[in-house]
């Protein structure tokens, strides 16, 4: 049997990666996925402790974690749709007017990479003989 410490290490790594993603990414959806990643790390911890102690309370807690995560997902995704309707973007920095009073505004200094012009669609040369068209006659 693999000792609990190994599972706890994996859970700690998932949690730390989730923290980094939540703190640094600016897309609302990726931030929310990072929060879910942290919950996965916690779930691994709980199940590993459940195995270690030989009772099922850890697994039951994990079920509650899943239930709360499902609620959170429903509310947060509805919220994201509403925010997207207002600003036409998922960038969380667009909402920085909500920051603490007295904090300086963050501005992006580095220029964006140049947009590559899209390659034009290829044009096909017409081949073969053009069939004769009949003139449309009016019957009215």
């Amino acid at each position: 049997m693999i000792p609990a410490s190994h599972y706890l290490t994996v859970g700690a790594i998932l949690f730390a990666l989730g923290v980094i993603g939540f703190l640094s990414r600016r897309n609302l959806i990726v931030m929310f996925l990072s929060a879910e990643l942290m919950l996965q790390g916690v779930a691994i911890n709980l199940v590993a402790f459940s195995r270690h102690h030989g009772n099922l309370h850890g697994q039951v807690f994990t079920l509650f974690v899943i239930a709360v995560a499902a609620c959170e997902a429903g509310v947060a995704l509805a919220l994201f749709l509403m925010l997207y309707r207002r600003k036409r973007s998922l960038d969380v920095s667009l909402w920085q007017a909500l920051r603490e009073p007295g904090m300086p505004e963050t501005t992006d200094t580095e220029p964006m990479p140049p947009v590559k012009p899209e390659e034009p669609l290829p044009k096909l040369q017409p081949a073969g003989v053009e069939p004769e068209r009949e003139e449309e006659r009016e019957y009215v």
Binding site: I20, R25, N27, R51, H57, A67, G74, E110
Partner: protein, 379 residues
């Protein structure tokens, strides 16, 4: 009885812990390098660093806690699933396209379900697959589809304070790993038990341990005990550290059931405090064998008690006694009928929590509908 301070921090023989620092530093640099940025970077270096970090992590898991890893299929599966989970979690936070992030998260969830299966939780594995990898991710993909943007955007190509965020995450990770290693690494106790056992079985005690008695002392019939040799002092210190490490588990209550364990602690303590110094000061080393045997046996017993999962009524901290939440005569092994056992636990021990979770789901549904509905702008 007043106990000496618990020296959890004094057990590591490797103060810098390179087994922890290497994967943490390499992983931190890799994640920082691979995070999206407006200026494009070459990804090769980041991938090299990530491979180095993964190798260091495997080394930490294999050797960091002492040699505990069984060579079985279970170990192969564990490394497969956890490797997949870690790699795709890193990919999830570093790729630019949010749809790809969501798909990487699916892989993380499925690998986690594999780990759940290894941990004897098949119902949770199924439930997580259905709820997370099925329902939640499909909802995510819908939202991503509804809010699709053309071309490069601030949301996907820029990050907030990538250096600080990466440093915060990996400092947290390093702290957690050091804590886990300090708690789960029994190598120092094992070494102390082996050391005491060797001394107990030795036919002739190494003279370096015995305090030399000078001729003048013998002539004057001096009663002053000679000082301990450095080797003997180091041995006694090692035994004290090992006892402090395992005594965390020894019950302090004086009820009859657990009195024997309490006695073991006292015996070992007595042997270390009085038996060993007296024996080492004896010119022939008389009594060393008995004292060392007592210590080795007692430490082995206490260590077994500490590792015995789920032993009830065990003191694990200075302040509290851990009591079993469920029924005291519950079996220590997980039951084979996982679903029915979970159901019984849910509806007997956690009934109120189940009701609350149901209410929460209902409220969340109402909230989601209320938030997402389009409001007509009044003229």
């Amino acid at each position: 009885m007043r106990h000496p301070p618990l020296s959890l921090l004094a057990v590591s023989s490797d103060p810098l812990s390179w087994t922890i620092l290497l994967p943490v530093i390499a992983g931190g640099l890799a994640v920082w390098y691979l995070l999206p940025a407006a200026r494009a970077r070459r990804r090769t270096y980041g991938f090299l660093l990530a491979v180095l970090a993964l190798a260091g992590l495997a080394g930490f898991l294999l050797r960091g806690f002492g040699d505990q890893m069984p060579e079985t299929v279970e170990a192969v599966l564990f490394f497969g699933f956890s490797g997949l989970a870690v790699v795709f979690a890193a990919l999830m936070i570093t790729v630019r396209n949010p749809a790809r992030s969501a798909l990487a998260f699916v892989v993380v969830v499925l690998s986690t379900c594999g780990l759940f299966l290894l941990l004897a939780a098949p119902f949770l594995a199924a439930a997580t697959t259905v709820i997370y990898a099925g329902a939640i991710i499909v909802t995510f993909l819908f939202v991503i589809m509804l809010s699709q943007q053309e071309g490069p955007s601030n949301a996907n190509l820029r990050t907030r304070e990538p250096e600080l965020a990466t440093a915060a995450g990996f400092v947290l990770l390093a702290t957690l790993m050091v804590g886990l290693q300090r708690v789960h690494d029994w190598r120092s106790v094992d070494a102390a038990i082996a050391h005491a056992g060797t001394l107990a079985r030795a036919e002739k005690i190494d003279p370096d341990y015995l305090s030399p008695r000078s001729k003048a002392d013998v002539d004057q019939m001096s009663t002053d005990p000679p000082p301990l040799t450095p080797k003997a002092a180091a041995f006694i210190a090692e035994m004290k550290d090992a006892l402090a490490r395992v005594r965390l588990a020894a019950p302090r209550s004086t009820d009859d059931k657990r009195l024997t364990d309490h006695k073991t602690v006292q015996e070992v303590e007595h042997a270390i405090e009085f038996g060993l110094p007296t024996a080492f000061k004896d010119p022939d080393g008389e009594g060393v064998h008995t004292a060392c045997q007592t210590i080795a046996d007692g430490l082995t017993r206490l260590k077994h008690l500490r590792n015995q999962a789920g032993s009830s009524d065990v003191t694990v901290s200075e302040h509290g006694v851990v009591r079993p939440i469920g029924h005291p005569d519950e079996p220590r092994q997980l039951p084979a009928a996982n679903v029915s056992a979970i159901g019984r636990t849910l509806f007997s021990d956690h009934l109120l929590a189940v009701e609350l979770a149901g209410t929460l789901l209902l409220i969340a549904t109402v909230g989601a509908i209320a938030i997402a509905q389009r409001r007509e702008v009044r003229a």
